[in-house]
C-alpha cells in the first residue's frame, strides 16, 4: 500500500470529505510525526508503535569503493518500535 492508496481508502470511508482535504489530513499526520522527531520528541501511538530518535556515535567509516577511512559525525536517526497489539495481530493473536 502506498500513500495515495491510503488516502483513497480514507476518502472512500468519508464521502462527505473532499479528496483534497483527505490528502491534507493524511499528510498532516505524517508531517506531525516527522516534525516531532526533528525536534527530538518521541511519538507514542499505543497499540500501533512508538517512533523515537536514537543517537549514533561518531565513528570512522570507510568508503566502500576506495577503502579510504572517513570520519562519520555523531548523528540522530529515527527509530520505530512496534506496539504490542500490532505485534500480536501480525502473529495471528487478536486483542483479548
Amino acid at each position: 500500500m502506498i500513500r495515495s492508496e491510503l488516502i483513497q481508502k480514507i476518502a472512500d470511508e468519508n464521502p462527505h470529505l473532499f479528496q483534497r482535504d483527505v490528502e491534507r489530513i493524511v499528510n498532516a499526520i505524517f508531517e506531525e510525526i516527522t516534525g516531532a522527531l526533528a525536534r527530538g520528541d518521541r511519538v507514542e501511538l499505543r497499540g500501533f508503535g512508538a517512533f523515537s530518535v536514537k543517537r549514533r556515535d561518531a565513528r570512522v567509516g570507510r568508503n566502500p569503493r576506495t577503502g579510504e577511512a572517513v570520519d562519520v559525525e555523531e548523528k540522530a536517526v529515527p527509530f520505530f518500535k512496534t506496539g504490542k497489539l500490532l505485534r500480536d495481530r501480525l502473529n495471528g493473536r487478536q486483542q483479548g
Partner: protein
C-alpha cells in the same frame, strides 16, 4: 534534546488545525489512518509512504533462544516482525533537527 511525547491527541490536533473538522472527527480520522496501515501490514503488505518511510513485515524462522538469566534453552516460534525504514528525507530532517 527536547523530551516531549507526542500522542494521538497531538495528531488529532494537527488534523483539526489543518481542516475545519470537529475534534472528535479529527481523532477518528487519525484512528482510521493507523487502522488502515495496521490492516495492510497484517495482510502481509508493505506500506510505503513517500518522504516518510516504509513499513514492511518480515518472517523470522524458529530458533533456539536462551533465557539470559538462567541460561536455559527455550524454543522461539517462527514469527512475523515489523520493520520501519525511514525515508531519506525523514533521516535528513531528523539528523538536521537534532544536531548537537
Amino acid at each position: 534534546m527536547a523530551d516531549n511525547t507526542v500522542t494521538r491527541m497531538d495528531l488529532s490536533e494537527a488534523v483539526f488545525r489543518e481542516v475545519g473538522l470537529s475534534r472528535n472527527e479529527s481523532a477518528q480520522l487519525v484512528e482510521s489512518v493507523l487502522r488502515h496501515i495496521s490492516d495492510a501490514l497484517v495482510r502481509g503488505e508493505t506500506v510505503k509512504i513517500s518522504s516518510f518511510g516504509t513499513f514492511s513485515v518480515r518472517a523470522k524462522s524458529a530458533r533456539v533462544g536462551r533465557n539470559p538469566k538462567t541460561g536455559e534453552e527455550v524454543p522461539i516460534d517462527p514469527r512475523r516482525v515489523l520493520s520501519f525504514r525511514p525515508s531519506h528525507l525523514m533521516k535528513e530532517r531528523v539528523a538536521a533537527g537534532n544536531r548537537s
